[in-house]
Amino acid sequence: MNSLTTKKLKKSLVSTEFFVLVLIVLLAVFIEMQSGLFFTNNNLVDLLRSMIVPSIFALCAYLGFISTGPDVSFPLIAALSSYIATQFVVITGFQGSIAIVFLVAIAVGLVLGSINGFIIAKYNFPSLIVTLGTSTIFSGILLGAFEASRMELPATMADFGRQSLLAVTNAKAGIGSSLPMTFLIFVGLYIIVYFVLNHTMAGRGVFAVGGDETSAERAGFNVKLIRFGVFTVSGAIAAIAGVCYTVESLYYLPTEFAGEEMIVIAAVILGGTRLMGGVGTLKGTILGTLLITIVTNSLILVGIPVYWQKFFIGAIIIIGTAISVIQSHNLFKSKKSKDSKGLQNSEVVINETAQKQ
């Protein structure tokens, strides 16, 4: 039983991702058969394009989940920090590199994220309630104090948004799609986060803290510092996503961000990230995001009315979480669950280990 757990754990994670991959392929084939429009060059580029921002957001949700719990404040951190960055360009008439604009947003994101991190790490409050609270505060600041409204981007930012890595035209339909430069940022961020999480002590600490706080502390990790760090960094990543979204849409749209968190969380959970911390992969996160993007982007191609979207997303969250929970429940038995079923299972485990000894 003991030797099985690690193997089984790996296996189940592989299978979650595999399951999502199969689902993606099936969905793609189904849409292709129904509409014949899925495997066209412009649809595929469109999919990649619409994946960029959700995937970066997914990093925030992912980091929250593996270290602490749900984080719902990243859309508003994105909205507020990209607003300040845009205003910075508008007011100062800044002409220089787009990197500086990103740095301004990142600085704001770090500050906002550190507020989350401070409250969550210091007081150990549930991260959902804290981030719900801070996101209403950020929304109040953005729409109340700053009176942010839709605005056109200054030339520096708009030019960056118009640059494209790759442009394709569908010969048949005559529709063109292009992949913006932000795609590179998305790829870069994933590589950095992958490296930090898997090849540095701090990264291992993030998983350790999420897996079992007490053990992590005894192993010498500074639990509070790691949590604070994760939420601060997550704020910076959200800010990057915010600027990416703004330059992609060529306008600053303050109200377009809120609500994004649900879809992103659904994607991350679908990708096999465990709800109570410690387990989850970036591969799964990308696959989950791809699946959700296909669902939201392509329902129209198959002729399903847009107003079914919420229903599908809700159903996917529930099914995805249920699968993830049932899997982790079978693996971890009583470790986290507080209920009678968990107890019964743990007794079984204890009995079995006792027999082996």
């Binding site: 749900p70 609270g133 809700g314 669950s337």
Partner: protein, 342 residues
């Protein structure tokens, strides 16, 4: 208020919270009466306050019970909307041809359909949380989308309106001693929930599960059963809120009142319910509801304050209250530890 106060099943620290709440309520009431006497102290203002607080007051009760059990119910607002839409649509379908006593019967059927919706939604939440072990936050985050989705689908995404006038007149525009009927319904429900949570076995079990689910399981409590009932109760309260809002607005829509989610959590946390479960009182939620309504009405009297600032205030209040309660609890624990050491 004094009557309610006797109804305590609480520990020392909770009385501290109630005292803080009462002080806060009195202070804000005084400030409002002194700065805007003619507007705030008018009977019209009290009538509209007592009408407005009913809906989110009921929603907060549901969220509060879920939080006492160690979970949370984020889907209440959308259960309310779905119930309101179901009630409205059944009413429209049946009532068009009816007159007289038949009409009342049909209205009753429609209301029952709405209540049934709340029951089913709550039961589904409870099923996901207890049987499938999905953490309450995520389960209700998912069902929130799901119920909104269902509401959009059955209403076609548009506002359900044109419900019979009798219904809204009956519930929303009838007064007893100048107090709206809906407020009496609310008071009755508060009394009922206080009774359930403090005087029945079920209430005791909910507290026990919230404090320590494992200990509760060992003492023979059927956790799944209690949790499902908890979320059904929350769903029923939400459907009641939805039906009352249908009567007040004469219409229902899938995405009404999405800002209520934050407000209900604020009220529950302000009311002294521990977000980790196990502690808190219903009278605390009641007091917090009135306090929030007074603040909200007071803010309304300053047209120059943008609505968005209210979000800011609620957000700061939630986190501020959490921190104050945290430090207050820490102090009491420290005191207790000292006392036992001596």
């Amino acid at each position: 208020m004094k009557l309610l106060k006797n109804n305590s099943l609480s520990l020392n620290q909770l009385d501290g919270n109630t005292a803080r709440l009462l002080t806060m309520f009195v202070a804000i009431f005084l400030v409002a009466s002194l700065t805007k006497p003619d507007m705030f102290l008018s009977s019209g203002n009290f009538q509209s306050m007592s009408k407005q607080l009913v809906e989110y007051g009921l929603l907060s009760l549901g969220v509060g019970i879920a939080m006492i059990s160690g979970g949370i119910d984020l889907s209440v607002v959308y259960i309310a909307n779905l119930s309101a839409i179901v009630t409205g649509m059944v009413m429209k379908a049946l009532v068009l041809t009816a007159v007289g006593p038949e009409l009342l019967l049909f209205i009753l059927i429609a209301v029952l359909a709405g209540v049934l919706t709340g029951f089913l939604c709550g039961a589904f939440n409870g099923f996901l949380i207890s049987k499938l072990h999905i953490p309450a936050m995520l389960a209700t985050l998912g069902t929130m989308q799901l119920y909104m989705g269902i509401a959009i689908i059955i209403s076609g995404g548009s506002t359900v309106s044109g419900i019979p006038r009798v219904f809204s007149q009956l519930i929303s525009n009838s007064y007893l001693f100048g107090i709206p009927l809906s407020f009496f319904i609310y008071l009755f429900v508060v009394g009922f929930i206080i009774f359930i949570m403090s005087k029945t076995k079920f209430g005791m079990r909910v507290f026990l599960i919230g404090t320590n689910a494992r200990a509760a399981a060992f003492s023979g409590i059927k956790i799944n059963n209690v949790l499902i009932k908890t979320y059904i109760l929350s769903g029923l309260l939400a459907s009641l809120a939805g039906i009352l809002s249908l009567a007040r607005l004469s219409s229902a829509k899938a995405d009404f009142g999405s800002s209520y989610i934050m407000q209900t959590i604020l009220i529950v946390v302000l009311g002294g319910i521990n977000p980790n479960g196990g502690y808190g009182t219903i009278r605390g939620i009641f007091l917090a509801t009135i306090t929030v309504q007074v603040i909200s009405s007071f803010l309304n009297m300053f047209p120059e304050i943008s609505n968005y600032y209210r979000d800011l205030i609620w957000g700061v209040a939630v986190i501020g209250v959490l921190i104050v309660n945290f430090s207050a609890n820490k102090k009491t624990t420290a005191k207790l530890a000292k006392a036992t050491a001596n």
